[in-house]
């Protein structure tokens, strides 16, 4: 009897919730983790909280591998008609997915949410990689810039001021020369390391600091053979081959390990690596801005959210999620958990961020740097150029190709590939 009554109660309860949630709009949210395993849980937690607060929407978060595979999955999905509702992709994919007709422009939705006022809540530099063809496609989500990590104990050891990271390119050379330790011909500690990844971040950093650009404003051709760009690569070449304070090649993932193990006194790396450093570094360390030459110019990085729905009801629901995730409290929560930069300016005043700043005041360097951040080169056809540039950097630094000739050849090759 009691069991029967329980059954009825249960049936009533389910009936009631079913009416309350009359057909919630189902949305898929694709995300590449790219910040180590535990963070899938942070994403799941955020999405669960969103679902709780919005009974009329049900979002499912789907892990989609790294940046490159996520992009491939969306491209395949476009051809087969199996797109997500929202996806997080690396910022240079904005023109790629917009030109493909997969990602949808957001201008109308933004206008409905306050237009310019809505966009003004983000750091202006973060919006640089969000537009294509005059329309907004991306909303900043897990954004980063490179930053300079330095070993303060090593600075003290060679009588450098441990509170003053190098500010200019020349200072960095001078510091790195003091910091490099050798046993005979063998280097036991590199002065500085600029790890290289597929997106060639530090090349752009050096070009921007030189006051140059690496891609034409219309995105049709690369400018690697321009004097400021050649000068940037020359600076990197000299670090490796003239001053011998940098190895010719440091794989991206090795950089932080080399720093942690004391085998590199300064490294450039993503702001997203801060949580790793906090966890593993056993000496005093600090953060500095990427040094300037004629100007500061850290390139932007990380990923944006983009919308793939064409149905207005789904668009509305998806937009609710995108705005919610970029609101200050959520942006702060994501930033504090990952080391990615809080995208909304107000997020830095949230309790999570204030607590983080109190414990790790060096994090303010990443905030200060944001006002100088520049766009990552991107265009619908940029992918082959990106790979050609990567090969060029490796070959030139390793002395396998002469700088001037290599640059000329690579520029011609990249422009040919992009014209196709």
């Amino acid at each position: 009897m009691r069991f029967g009554r329980m059954l009825i109660a249960a049936a009533l309860a389910t009936g009631l919730t079913a009416t309350a949630n009359a057909d919630p709009v189902a949305l898929s949210f694709w995300y590449p983790v790219d910040v180590g395993g535990g963070l899938t849980k942070v994403v799941d937690g955020l999405i669960a909280d969103f679902n709780k607060a919005h009974p009329d929407i049900k979002v499912t978060a789907v892990y989609t591998g790294n940046y490159d595979v996520t992009l491939q999955k969306i491209q395949a999905g476009k051809l087969a008609g199996a797109l997500p509702d929202i996806a997080v992709t690396e910022i240079s994919s904005v023109p790629v997915l917009a030109a493909l007709g997969a990602a949808q422009p957001l201008d109308k939705l933004i206008a409905g949410s306050g237009g310019a006022t809505f966009l003004d809540k983000f750091w202006p530099s973060m919006l640089l990689n969000c537009r294509y063809d005059g329309k907004v496609y991306g909303i900043p989500f897990q954004r980063s810039t490179p930053v300079l990590y330095y070993n303060r104990d090593a600075f003290s050891e060679v009588a450098l001021d441990p509170n003053r990271p190098p500010e200019t390119g020349d200072e960095m050379v001078a510091d790195a020369q003091k910091l490099t330790k050798r046993e005979g011909d063998r280097v036991t500690r590199w002065g500085v390391e600029l790890p290289l990844e597929a997106f060639n971040w530090f090349y752009y950093a050096l070009v921007y600091e030189n006051g140059g650009e690496s891609l034409s404003a219309d995105g049709t051709h690369v400018l690697w053979d321009q004097p400021k760009d050649v000068g940037a690569l020359q600076y990197w070449y000299d670090l490796v081959n003239k001053y011998k304070v940098t190895p010719a090649y440091t794989p991206w993932n090795d950089g932080p390990q080399e720093f942690v193990a004391g085998r590199a006194a300064i490294i450039w790396h993503s702001t997203g690596s801060q949580s790793f450093m906090r966890q593993h570094v056993q000496f005093h360390w600090g953060l500095g801005r990427l040094p300037k030459n004629v100007q500061f110019g850290p390139p932007s990085g990380g990923a944006n959210m983009m919308l793939y729905d064409t149905d207005p009801a789904k668009q509305k629901a998806a937009w609710t999620l995108m705005t919610w995730l970029s609101d200050a409290p959520q942006a702060a929560r994501w930033s504090a958990a990952t080391g990615y930069l809080a995208t909304s300016m107000a997020a830095w005043d949230e309790p999570e961020m204030q607590a983080l700043i109190k414990e790790h005041p060096e994090v303010l360097v990443t905030k200060e740097q944001l006002k100088d951040a520049k766009a990552e080169p991107a265009s619908p056809n940029y992918a082959p150029a990106r790979d050609i540039l990567n090969g060029l950097i490796k070959a030139v630094l390793a002395n396998k190709e002469p700088l001037e000739d290599g640059v000329k050849q690579a520029t011609a090759e990249a422009n040919g590939a992009m014209a196709k």
């Binding site: 590449p32 790219d34 899938t40 789907v62 491939q72 991206w252 004391g262």
Partner: protein, 274 residues
Amino acid sequence: MKRAVGRVALYATVLIAAALVAMPMYWLLVSALKPSTEIFTATPRWLPGRIEWRNFRDAWEGAAFGRYFINSIGVTAAILLLQLVTSNLAAFALARRRFAGRGFVLFAVIGALIIPIQVTFLANFITLQHFGWLDSYAALIAPFATSAFGTFLLRQAFLAVPDAIEDAARLDRCTGLAFLWHFLLPLSRPTVVAFVLVALVAHWNDYFWPLIVTNRDEIRTLPIGLAMFVSQEVTTDWNLLMAATLFVAGPVLVVFFLTQRYFIRSHVNTGLKR
């Protein structure tokens, strides 16, 4: 004396070769047991200073490994079973039967052998979408129901079985599929075992395809869980990645150890007395 020297040289070579193979395995194991502070040291540490069993718990909780395990076993078993059936039958027909267009079929099989998945993945993806099979077990299994590699490999093995055996079998009224089952398969055992091992490793480790065609944790497989520990932009937690790798590679290693004896013994079976 000379023989003794030869023996020492032989063992030394074998030991060095074994060390080369065992070294990454050993490093995998100790890294999985180290606390994260001991992963990065200026000189390599051969033994963990403190054993960190928590790595396994953290890694296990980092992704839905329990579910992935069941899925990996089920999907790999289904693929192997289907491939064994289709490849054996196709190889049997290609090796031991004459029919119109046999040369062309063989040519097509060899052609399929040299086409990498990156070329076919889009066509397969769109086909599956038309069938409505995306995001299901069928999407993980169906594209691999046949194997050009297996068909070709088994055909070569079946060709090597002398006609005299088939003639003898025919006298005992053992023909067609019965001949395949009772003679060709047992006589080609080393090839069959080799094929199973290669296919097992390939499909157990497959990452790209399952990630592309699935969107739900309930049907995803182990390598996807493993990939969650690898980072493209920031830094990887190597100790957790190594612990997770042990979950993923462990079962395959066990299968290798178990089948290795069988594998060697099957080499001893020769077919015909000459």
